[in-house]
Amino acid sequence: MINLTKKLITACCLLLITFGAQAALTIEIEKGEGEAAPIAIVPFGWKGRTPPPIQPAQIVATDLRRSGRFAPLADADLVARPAHAQEVKYRAWRALKIDNMVVGRMEPVGKNEYRIDFQLLDVVNGTQMAGYSIRTSTRDLRRAVHQISDIVFEALTGTRGAFDTRIAYVTVAKSVKNPKRNDYRLAVSDVDGYNEKILLKSSNPILSPSWSPDGQRIAYVSVTPKGPVIYIQNIQTRTARKLKQFRGLNNAPSWSPDGRKLALTLSKDGNPEIYIYELSTDRVKRITQSYGIDVEPVWLPDAKGIIFTSDRGGTPQLYLTRFNSFGRASRAERLTFEGDYNARASISADGERLAFVHNHHIAVMNLKNKSLRILTDTPWDESPSFAPNGSMVIYATQEKGNGVLAAISADGQAPQKLSIKTGDIREPAWSPFRKRSF
């Protein structure tokens, strides 16, 4: 069932990111019809001689709204501007029919450092639910605020927040030197589009960025004039390792949960099959046997099996092969039966749901009862990737002929779109959780 069509989609907010010349992504949030809890995020107090570098409340409100679970009050609706819990007059806030509010303050401490204090309050009972005092460098200031969003989200929903995470993606633009060719860039940014960092510029198409489980490295495919090659790039050092290249396809890398292996597609033995590439030895082990195309492997989170796309049954469908106690792959079991194109699976971290391309839309399937929910109704949606907390799925879609990124809550609420101003953006991959920066 397509929930979206029934929705009154309202553009709620248009955030333009202007980091000087770096301005990269715009984020458009569309409001879903789901139950979003009203919450007050009061502008944080500021003790500094110059204007604050950021307004934490604005970032927290945007994060929470993006989740589809919360509806932060508009600035004009706030009845007061308390910066401390002690200053809150609960009765006035109860009149706004909100259950919770966040208050806080920020101040510079020393060179390039800030302290942020905040409290999450239960308005109904007039009590504090969470309170933190955070010291952060200027560099990690936005990260620290996303972690405030994570703390608030977890305290109120019981689910770990994924606001302090990143996305990897590929951008495409006409080459300045030769307009007949494209320039491809592999980039990472915060999940809200800020802090874009280019990891690689290339004249060769870049496919399938895949995060290592520790979030330090990205594997990807470079489609060179001599065929596809897989690289692993370290995000911090920007050094890259080229994997052993086999004749034919070297595609669709996916990290094992322990970070020691990649599942990938090779066609060295004739037709595309799934192999496991051991990173310490450069040895590969074949795990599929079919005359069809076997591609796009992803590991089960417990590493006990691999889900992949195969057209062995005549059309592209998803299959699961499990490893027995000797590590041998079982005969693959078909997972999808509805529709004639089911491909490119992403699995939720709890192993319970699959997001994939279903007849050119994004769908999520419950792996236990196999129930299918189609989340999008736009044509040519591709490359879904689960947030590490399973709450949302980011994917690539088309807008006016350009590739843009969009995210949708895994239950179909709160679609948002990320789009860059020039060129195309595609192949999004959501990072794993990051360690707290404070």
């Binding site: 198409p205 066609s267 195309i293 796009e296 490359s383």
Partner: protein
């Protein structure tokens, strides 16, 4: 159809001639190629024939209307089937390769933008292999052929409808230098 038959006969003739000769000298074939290309400008096609009476490979490859002139083959969505006409055109390529073992060809496989990028990489390879298998079956050597897939990454038309898709679902034969 008549044209195809005509060219096919011509290829056979050329192939027979080549079979009789024992390898052209490099500088001679360069000359012949020049002749052929000057012919293109006037709309005529001239064939370079060396002392041994051989029509050299470069001349054949430079001929823009000859039996080897068809280098792009199109496919249906998610398919690799080739039409009878395609097969005939490919037969000329196979025979040409068989008679010119020092010439090699790269077959590029492509897909339209529909479907996932990685599946399309595999599909492009499958299309390239459909052609190379046919060439090998008809006498070309595996060592002369290299298949490369570019999936949906190198479209020739940029539209988002069937008129663009149908020309993007293709395999291309690339003889180096032509």
């Amino acid at each position: 159809m008549e044209k195809v038959v005509k060219w096919f006969v011509l290829t056979l003739a050329a192939v027979t001639l080549i079979a009789c000769a024992s390898g052209a000298k490099k500088d001679e074939s360069a000359e012949s190629a020049e002749q052929a290309s000057s012919g293109e400008e006037t709309g005529d096609t001239r064939y370079g024939v060396d002392d041994a009476g051989k029509i050299d490979a470069k001349t054949l490859l430079s001929d823009t209307t000859g039996p080897l002139s068809r280098r792009v083959f199109y496919f249906e969505f998610d398919r690799t089937d080739l039409s009878e006409e395609d097969r005939q055109a490919l037969r000329a390529h196979a025979e040409f390769l068989a008679q010119n073992p020092d010439i090699s060809v790269v077959i590029e496989g492509h897909a339209d933008e529909r479907g996932t990028r990685e599946y399309n990489m595999a599909l492009g390879e499958r299309r390239a292999k459909a052609i190379s298998q046919l060439l090998v079956l008809q006498g070309a050597s595996k060592d002369q052929i290299q298949e490369i897939s570019f999936g949906e990454e190198r479209p020739v038309a940029l539209g988002h409808d069937e008129s663009a898709w149908k020309v993007n679902r293709r395999a291309e034969l690339l003889y180096s230098g032509y």
